[in-house]
Amino acid sequence: MATDDLKLAVNAALALQRPLLIKGEPGTGKTMLAEQVAAALGMPLLQWHIKSTTKAQQGLYEYDAVSRLRDSQLGDERVKHIENYIVKGVLWQAFTAEQRVVLLIDEIDKADIEFPNDLLRELDRMEFHVYETREMVKAKHRPLVIITSNNEKELPDAFLRRCFFHYIKFPDRDTMAQIVDVHFPHLKKELLAQALQVFYETREISGLKKKPSTSELLDWLKLLLAEDIPPEALRSKDDRLIVPPLHGALLKNEQDIHLFERLVFMSRTSR
């Protein structure tokens, strides 16, 4: 479900060959985006999922010294050539691919604070130097780089300057209805309308520690479908908010559930 500004962002990143940095609330489909873009452009997708222990070097290549040591003791012929022990990283694969690829660097904020700085030159010039073989790896086709971040760490300015930045806003009601339609084409219209209303009302409660997001809504709808719950069950007869069935799928924090139940109770007694 691409909005206009998102399309523009992807086009600009393609035309100007800059990495596209995508931020947004968890569960708004940042990772999905890269897959969709790759599919739409007919380019292969290479993924690099970042963890807290990931080093920038691992994306380029790794020198497997341990295998070489072992092979040397076994007298293996390959040991004479160091290239045999260089394991190509995702960036290397992307640079040397025969066609243009989409390279997804997922959740870059999970890594160490210095991580983005270590990739500056590689992403800017799309080339790097392999120290062990004294070889220069240059991109044949500059890949379309998509980077996602959950904003856990701030990214350095120098890095940001080289990227385009797109912030995925939480979808409004119409867009959300379309998203749901893609996932559950056979959903009954009334159930969807009711469910969306409950969902947005829940999101608007101030003081929730974790607001339910798109992925939680989809899970919840799946449960509602599986249990075959009628739309009437989401509302009381006089159209007031009630604690919806299976609300555990929406609220994942016990304090939030308490708060929600209390609010519902209050709204009942006050009227």
């Binding site: 206009d4 600009a12 100007l16 760490k153 385009f164 930045f165 912030y167 608007e204």
Partner: protein, 388 residues
């Protein structure tokens, strides 16, 4: 071309660099946008702004720069029912907070006033409805969370995207959630390796093995830890009740972020005794002298309190409201700041109210101005002070 626009953005406090500006021009040269004003807005934002916290500033600067040009482009009218709908939204959304604070009729009056103001501006032909729509409750410190200013999507055509100012919630001076607090607190991280050597130092081992002509020579090193020590003193009860929620968030963020976190409570000002549990406040107390002596001098000291009390409670012996204190609160504050040179006072009251409260001014002086508001921006400022 567009050079004034660049400087308008710079003046608005958005960190734009020349490189990014040239990129924007390059994008325009490549005809990425087809003369649509909205597309140009998105493109400029995509290339120039790298933080959603700055989106709101960008919207405003963009609006003010292109106001004249835009007026020439189209004269879209803002439908009155949009205003009505908007008013109804504000009412329902703010109802809970507002009814408590203002009373229902006062609220209605303010909304009417707001509507009138907007009508006038509308008739005057200015398009500045978007900014005119700053929440009527803004100055009383309420965060208009969850209000969608733009109304339903069919009105999109009437209101320009940047005039909706839909990213206002992301502005850095907004109130904070745990996740953001954690990020702010991370500025204090100070990694160091100390303690027992129990981690294999791989690079070191390889190097020394090579030096050792191939005989294995294992090297160990201590694990990398965040060794910053934090002592938090928190005000509870009385006027702090209004801020319970935010203090709770701060506390839970601090607890996960700092392994070496100690905390104590006080009421209004620190005196000769502190406590760690509010239930056992009467039975289980800690002498402040002991606290002063327990922690290392490089401990970062963070006071959390609204510093709102009678000046006597700080300056006079015996001024405390709940017990008789032999020494004035100010003396205790002095002792703390002398023992722990890295100190900070976090104040949940909004910064613009500080000058009207005598006791805040006194505490601020005691703290050598090291007092920051409990917003994300304030917290970052504070962490920078602390890590110096």
């Amino acid at each position: 071309m567009l050079i004034d626009f660049f400087y308008t953005l710079k003046d608005a406090g958005i960190p734009v660099s020349i490189k990014e500006f040239l990129q924007l021009l390059e994008a325009l040269e490549k005809n990425l946008v087809n003369c649509s004003f909205d597309d140009f807005y998105y493109l400029a934002r995509l290339i120039l702004v790298k933080d959603e916290a700055n989106f709101d500033k960008f919207d405003q600067a963009f609006g003010s720069y292109f106001k004249g040009i835009d007026a020439a482009f189209d004269k879209a009218e803002i439908p009155l029912d949009w205003l009505m709908q908007r008013a109804m939204r504000e009412l329902t959304d703010e109802q809970k907070a507002a009814i408590e604070k203002f009373g229902y009729h006062k609220l209605m009056d303010r909304l009417k006033q707001l509507l009138e103001e907007q009508k006038e501006r509308h008739e005057g032909g200015s398009k500045w409805i978007g900014t005119g729509g700053t929440s009527p409750f803004g100055n009383s410190g309420y965060h208009p969370e969850g209000i969608r200013i733009g109304g339903e999507s069919r009105h999109r055509s009437a209101v320009k995207v940047w005039e909706q100012r839909s990213y206002r919630d992301y502005d850095a001076s907004r109130e904070i959630g745990t996740r953001n607090i954690k990020v702010a607190l991370r500025r204090l991280r100070r990694f160091a390796r100390d303690g027992a050597a129990e981690e294999l130092a791989l690079d070191e081992t390889i190097r020394s093995t090579a030096n050792n002509a191939g005989y294995l020579d294992i090297r160990m090193r201590p694990e990398r830890r965040n060794n910053v020590k934090v002592l938090m003193l928190m005000d509870v009860g009385g006027s702090m009740d209004d801020h319970v929620h935010r203090v709770e968030e701060l506390f839970s963020a601090a607890k996960t972020e700092f392994k070496n976190l100690s905390f104590y409570y006080f009421h209004n000002c620190v005196y000769d005794q502190l406590w760690r549990s509010n239930q056992r406040r009467q039975t289980e107390r800690f002498a402040t002298w002991d606290v002063l002596h327990t922690y290392a001098p490089d401990t970062k000291l963070i006071f959390v309190g609204d510093a709102t009390m009678s000046p006597y409670e700080i300056l006079q012996p015996g001024g405390a409201i709940d017990h008789h204190n032999r020494e004035a609160g100010a003396e205790w504050l002095q002792r703390f700041t002398k023992t722990f040179p890295n100190y900070l006072w976090l104040n949940p009251e909004p910064e613009h109210l500080w000058e009207y409260r005598q006791s805040i001014a006194i505490i601020r002086r005691q703290m050598n101005n090291r007092m920051v508001p409990m917003t994300l921006e304030g917290l970052e400022r504070g962490m920078r002070l602390l890590s110096k």
